[in-house]
């Protein structure tokens, strides 16, 4: 450990993360807290809560997550994997066509602000609340119309190294069984890993919400919303999302 770690006794370090990481943790924590507090939503509150945990972690120098993860994760990088499955009441061919229309994915992918395609390659821009936009290039790895579509980011020096696939199962009269798998590599180091793990339930929910919006668009032709409706609260508009 790089710090002059305070020791309660010789075997129990009070801190288990380094100074650089502690500063980083506080800084990153603050970003989440600020971003979280700006949004009056559950996601916002979650971000704020995670942020304050990171701040506390940095200030105290103790991280319950690092303690466990450091041992397992310091030596290698594992992708965070999220799987979502959903029934959609349209035939697989139609579901496939809608997903294959990459430039229109931002209609239901909340954090993707744009996708542009140039012969075989696509350029993605994403915006996560309170953070600067992230961009990367991706290519399609497998493309079987009506059955499967998979992709990955082009090379591993990209800021958000990621890959994914959508499989379209034929459910007959019930339409399509969608299986969506997203994998991404968090930034290297225990902090990156810890943040990624902390956020993976949030990521899971984001993926589920994206897939749910996709389903609504195909089945109902629109995405349900209450954003912009009246309320008697002094602060107008919808909380929630």
């Amino acid at each position: 450990m790089a710090t002059a770690a305070l020791r309660r006794n010789d075997t129990q370090p009070l801190t288990n993360i380094g100074d650089v990481e502690r500063v980083g943790s506080v800084a990153l924590g603050m970003v989440f807290v600020m971003a979280g507090l700006r949004r009056h939503s559950l996601a916002g509150r979650t971000a704020a809560a995670v942020g304050s945990a990171l701040v506390a972690r940095g200030v105290t120098g103790r991280c319950p997550v690092s303690a466990r993860l450091a041992r397992r994760l310091e030596s290698y990088r594992r992708p965070v994997r999220v799987v979502e499955a959903m029934q959609v009441s349209v035939p697989p061919a139609e579901a496939y066509r809608a997903w294959r229309d990459l430039e229109r994915l931002p209609r239901f992918m909340k954090h993707i602000t744009s996708v542009t395609t140039v012969d075989g390659t696509s350029h993605w821009t994403a915006q996560f609340s309170g953070l600067p936009p992230v961009e990367w290039d991706a290519e399609i790895v497998r493309d079987v119309p009506g059955e499967v579509l998979s992709w990955r980011s082009r090379n591993d020096d990209q800021p958000l190294e990621n890959s994914g696939s959508v499989t379209f199962f034929d459910l007959g009269p019930r339409g399509t069984g969608l299986r969506v798998e997203i994998g991404y590599y968090p930034p290297a180091g225990p902090l990156g890993q810890a943040v990624a793990r902390l956020f993976s339930p949030v990521t899971e929910r984001q993926v589920r919400e994206d897939v749910r919006r996709f389903k609504s668009l195909l089945e109902a032709g629109e995405i349900p919303t209450t954003a912009g409706q009246p309320s008697g609260a002094a602060r107008q508009g919808e909380r929630g999302r």
Binding site: E219, E222, G228, P230, G232, A233, R239, R241
Partner: protein
């Protein structure tokens, strides 16, 4: 516009809020001509349904005139007079296609909240908490109605607002509760609760062929209303012996063929077990007080059905699951699949078989809504059903 808004437990205020606007292609805006307060609203008023937020516009039983519509709404014209179902449904998903509209997959923008609690989410509802969609409700002068191409039903000119308003909720709710009993000619049906839902269930049970209906409550004018539409009554507040024992006697030991719990999670009682429920709920050790549901399961005849239109939100304690199993009972419940009852029940009203307006006890304006909640909550002033012209 003016709207009745929730601000906390026992705190409803009429506020000036912006008029609603179209947000999606399948939306319409309805100018409300008649609206109502429901027993379900009391669960919000008393704070038993989570995820309410300050300023939420209440109300889910309303009708009015179409004043605006999105490009996706072709079946309605501006000026049409419509009743709006309290369940919001897309008409196209797995559940809607089976007529299970209150389980629609595509109408709750906050489905994840309900999924946390229940595993899966039901449809969005008007004015009924954020976990049920957070939609602004109908105790207001205007309402935005999503999926207006599949929900609202047009009303024939010959019928008054009061005759058709309850197609929005309580008539279909009472009817579905009775339908869930699978009534065969000659059946005896017991109904807990003589509020508007219970009264509609009694009326519907007779329509569907019940020979006798035994209704249970403790509020005199409500018991009287039940007797007026042909029910025998048990006053659980004063009469001895217990409700279950009385039902045993009244059915010659067989038990009612089906039991309807039209009370829900805020049941009252005077027994030890009722006190136990109250204490546990007050301490937040349990969410719901299932007194009527327990009695219904206990009293029901072997092989019978327990039908539950009364709302439950969380967990129940001391559920007689042994009785449920040993007697081979069927248990049915849920929010009403309103859409599928609109056409058949509208024609029953047109044919003069039923006039649901018999439950109305009070007619008010929107400014009187806060006071009405307080009175209705105490079941004072012989209150059974409030309707309001906003």
């Amino acid at each position: 516009m003016k709207a009745a808004c929730w601000f906390g437990v026992g705190d409803v205020r009429v506020e000036d809020v912006p008029d609603p606007v179209l947000l999606n292609p399948r939306d319409a805006i309805v100018k409300v001509t008649l609206s109502a307060i429901c027993g379900s609203d009391l669960h919000l008023y008393n704070g038993y349904i989570p995820t309410m937020a300050e300023g939420d516009i209440l109300g889910h039983e309303f009708m009015g005139e179409v004043v605006e519509k999105g490009e996706g709404v072709r079946n309605l014209q501006i000026g049409d007079r419509v009743v709006v179902p309290f369940t919001i449904a897309c008409g196209a998903c797995f559940f809607c296609k089976r007529g299970l509209v209150s389980l629609c997959d595509n109408s709750n923008p906050n489905a994840w909240m309900a999924e946390k609690l229940y595993g899966y989410s039901g449809s969005g509802l008007f004015g009924y908490s954020h976990m049920m969609g957070g939609y602004a409700g109908g105790q207001a002068q205007y309402v935005r109605v999503p999926f207006a191409d599949v929900g609202p039903v047009k009303v024939p000119a010959g019928l008054t607002d009061e005759q058709v308003l309850f197609l929005s909720d309580i008539f279909p709710t009472g009817y579905m509760a009775a339908e869930n009993c699978g009534i065969q000619d000659g059946d005896v049906i017991a109904v807990w609760g003589c509020g508007p839902v219970g009264l509609m269930a009694i009326r519907s049970a007779f329509l569907l062929g019940a020979s006798r209906v035994i209704a249970i409550d403790e509020v005199a004018p409500r018991l009287e209303a039940a007797r007026r539409i042909g029910a025998e009554t048990i006053d659980f507040g004063t009469e001895e012996p217990s409700v279950v024992e009385r039902l045993h006697q009244l059915t010659y030991g067989l038990g009612p063929d089906a039991c309807i719990d039209a009370v829900g999670l805020e049941a009252h009682g005077h027994s030890l077990i009722a006190a136990y429920d109250r204490v546990k709920q007050a301490l937040r050790l349990t969410t719901d007080r299932p007194l009527a549901l327990r009695q219904a399961i206990q009293a029901c005849r072997k092989g019978g059905t327990v039908s539950v239109p009364g709302v439950y939100g969380g967990f129940i304690d001391k559920a007689p699951v042994g009785a449920f199993f040993s007697k081979g009972l069927t248990l049915k419940g849920g929010q009403t699949h309103v859409h599928r009852y609109l056409a058949p029940l509208l024609s029953r009203i047109e044919r003069g078989e039923v006039d649901p307006s018999f439950v109305i006890s009070h007619r008010i304006g929107i400014d009187e809504v806060p006071e009405a909640y307080a009175t209705f909550e105490r079941k004072a002033d012989d209150a059974i059903k409030y309707v309001l012209r906003p």
